[in-house]
Amino acid sequence: MKIPPLAKVLIKRGFVLFLMVIIVTYLTILIANAGGYVDEILISDIKFNVAQRVSANPLYKGLSIEERNKLIERLVENEIRLRGLDQPFPIRSLIYLWNALTLDLGRSMYMTSDTGSRLVRLIILERLPQTILLFTTATVIIFFIGLFGGLYLSRNFGSFLDKLTIYLSPTSAIPGWFYGILLILIFYSYLHVLPPGGMVDYPPPEEPVAYFLSVLKHMILPVMAWVISSFFIEIYYNRSFFLTYSTEDYVEAAKAKGVPPSQIERRYILRPALPPIITSFAFAVVLSWSGAIITETVFNWPGLGRTLAMAIGFFDVPVIVGITVVFAYLIAATTFILEIIYGIVDPRIRAGVEGV
């Protein structure tokens, strides 16, 4: 059976991306372990498990505290040897790498998930959907505003709106989270119309519709902050981009042939401009993962970024290491998904042309 070229490219890219994740994870482990933290994470995990097993076992009920502590100590040592943690660091680090890659991220030092678990994986996975919800919404809104705004201005370049956009594009030097602070001051502190942070009202509404509306209300400010921050520069870049394409010879030729303007826009300008626009969208999504950290902190949004900020406050190293690894996975996954979309819209990749 012949593998289609697109699949071939994707398999190759997927492999490379996974390799990158492995490298980044390993770097994370190296950095965290230079402070001795990864060892601590695993050993505290083992101690917790052993202590629980011993106290749950009716066989050991009769032991005095001293005897029991000795038993625990011995069992912990056994466990450490069993798992190979008494090996020198280069070998140990590979064990850690495997654990991290399989998202076996150990136990947190202080933080707990909403269900009360101390498993870092649960703490993180519980927060992930909130982050994705907020920032995918914001990025998609910005993407479409940029696309249509850019198209509109490229059609009417030189108009008042066009000039206004150019003049206001420096406002995008200010990041979204910073607009967030200003928006909180306006809409919460001064006008008292929108909540300053959080995801739902307290107590959360019972009804699904009311719950949904409450979440929506809490999303307004963070999303607005991000949209304001990218609004003008997105439109400005897309507009310049479309203008560049609209001066190409083949567009002139199509115009001369009498192709209707709407078709020129769709087929001759938008179509070839799509792959680079999607690339910039990919970067925007990837960047949003990082930007999310501070925006969530400012808005108290219960996502991954907020969890990271809290972990900093608690000095909860396992959680910080875990989040770093999960972020690496997220970025790789985003890149991969966009690679697929890219493959669909770019005929060269679809046809398997080399050197793209």
């Binding site: 994740v21 950095i31 230079a34 420096p170 406002t171 909180i184 910080i320 989040i323 690496a328 997220l330």
Partner: protein, 462 residues
């Protein structure tokens, strides 16, 4: 974007033709002057220490708004007022009673504000033998009422008596005020309110001439006594003060060199190192090229901010080491790929081929023939990326990773958040440092976008 024909000097000349760039340059000049002022008058190493020293700021009001606030508000807030020894309208009269010296001091001042002072502090300097002096304090309002502000016995050579923290006195004055009003008002009567209030349903200050009377009994011939009364106001300086009484204007000035140098050093270093790697990658090709390309791909997956957070937290870095980490985590950024394409274009250009032909060394070709040519198109993105590093510093401060020894705008904002400025309405505490950050960002953005139009003529035509 392709390699353009401009030189750096030419770009600068062209830049002066853009009004927006001139505005940007003017703001930048202001910030640079501010930074120089900060560095010259307060050595960088001391600024943080002074800022963190809480005892130094006791003479300043807490949470005061900036002075210019009064221009925009119909309700005038009072500044700090200081009366007493060595200041105008200070009289004293000494008599002898029961063999002791009794001195009566009288200070008068005019009060023309609508709001109340925030605190009243009696600062006493005294020397005595045996028994400490007895200090009776009275307050005369413009209406002529005399209020007894209780009696104090200062035991230290210099003592600060926080009159407005005297709970017993507060209760007495509250009862008195309610009695005068004839009803319990819907606002709380603190000591400053009771001392300055007009007896009305709304909290407004009584305007006019106030008198502060102190009657001191000294039990020894050679005892000395002097005092000043500090009425902390609700406005201070250009930028107000924070919850720790620190004048924010100082923090803003001291933060300027930190913000500028952080942004500029980060951006310039990262761009140059990226250029060098791109030049090596594009010029040599082969294995070096593919190694650098793989590294940029790793950097793409690397979660930048979590990495910075993790390193800064685990190793407890100060701000300049943090800057170094940020640089290291950015040198293989995606721009390397863009620059590499330009280098590859240049490599095949006739003059580089000529240089290769006459035997110029690789180093010479890269540093003298290639780098100077790709520098101009890089300049706009260099300038445009400066604000992002300034904000990165602020962002790290918001996450609680600021360097405690350095005063930065981000740290002031973070402290404002932690101090509840957003919820309690101390807007100036957040807005003024924010305005500084915005000014910085806008200035570089204006310059950068003008540069972008200059080196990308295709954009300019449109």
């Amino acid at each position: 974007m392709s390699v353009s024909e401009y030189t750096l000097k030419g770009i600068f000349k062209e830049l002066m033709r853009y009004k927006s760039a001139l505005v940007g340059l003017a703001i930048l000049a202001f910030l640079v002057i501010l930074s120089l002022y900060a560095l010259i008058f307060t050595p960088y190493s001391q600024a943080g220490e002074i800022w963190n020293d809480q005892n130094r700021w006791l003479a300043y009001p807490r949470n005061a708004a900036p002075e210019w606030y009064n221009f925009f508000s119909s309700k005038k807030l009072p500044p700090s007022i200081l009366i007493g020894e060595g200041l105008p309208n200070h009289e004293s009269e000494e008599v002898e009673r029961n063999g002791y010296r009794v001195i009566t001091y009288l200070d008068s001042f005019t009060y023309n504000y609508d709001d109340f002072p925030s605190e009243l502090v009696l600062l006493i300097n005294t020397t005595y033998f045996g028994s400490p002096p007895t200090v009776k304090v009275y307050w005369v309002k413009p209406s002529g009422e005399e209020l007894n502000l209780s009696t104090y016995r200062p035991r230290n050579i210099s003592e600060s008596i926080y009159i407005s923290n005297n709970i017993m006195l507060e209760r007495e004055l509250e009862e008195y005020a309610i009695d005068k009003l004839g009803f319990t008002p819907n606002y709380t009567i603190t000591i400053p309110v009771a001392l300055f209030m007009e007896y009305k349903g709304e909290p407004t200050a009584m305007k006019g001439n106030y008198k502060f009377k102190v009657e001191v009994t000294l039990y020894n011939r050679s005892d000395t006594f002097s005092y000043r009364l500090l009425m902390h106001g609700k406005v201070y300086g250009i930028a107000g003060t924070d919850i720790y009484r620190r004048p924010l204007e100082l923090g803003l000035i001291w933060g300027a060199p930190v913000a500028l140098s952080f942004g500029i050093v980060a951006s310039v270093t990262i761009t140059f190192v990226q250029l060098i790697f791109a030049a090596i990658s594009g010029y040599y090709g082969g294995k070096v090229d593919s190694l650098i390309q793989r590294l940029t791909e790793i950097y793409m997956i690397l979660p930048f901010l979590p990495f910075v957070v993790m390193i800064s937290l685990l190793y407890g870095l100060d701000i300049w080491r943090l800057l170094l980490i940020i640089i290291v985590l950015s040198i293989f950024g995606t721009s390397v790929k863009t620059y590499r394409v330009w280098v590859m274009q240049l490599k095949t250009s006739p003059y580089v081929e000529a240089a290769i032909a006459y035997g110029a060394s690789n180093l010479r070709i890269i540093t003298l023939y290639i780098l100077p040519r790709i520098l101009p198109p890089v300049v706009p993105s260099l300038v445009l990326s400066i604000p992002s590093y300034v904000f990165l510093e602020a962002a790290l401060a918001i996450l609680g990773l600021s360097d405690p020894k350095v005063v930065s705008w981000g740290r002031i904002i973070e402290e404002a958040f932690a101090g509840g400025a957003v919820y309690k309405g101390y807007y100036h505490w957040v807005l003024i440092p924010s305005a500084m950050l915005i000014l910085t960002a806008i200035s570089f953005a204006l310059i950068g976008l003008a540069l972008d139009r200059i080196v990308n003529p295709r954009l300019r035509e449109m």
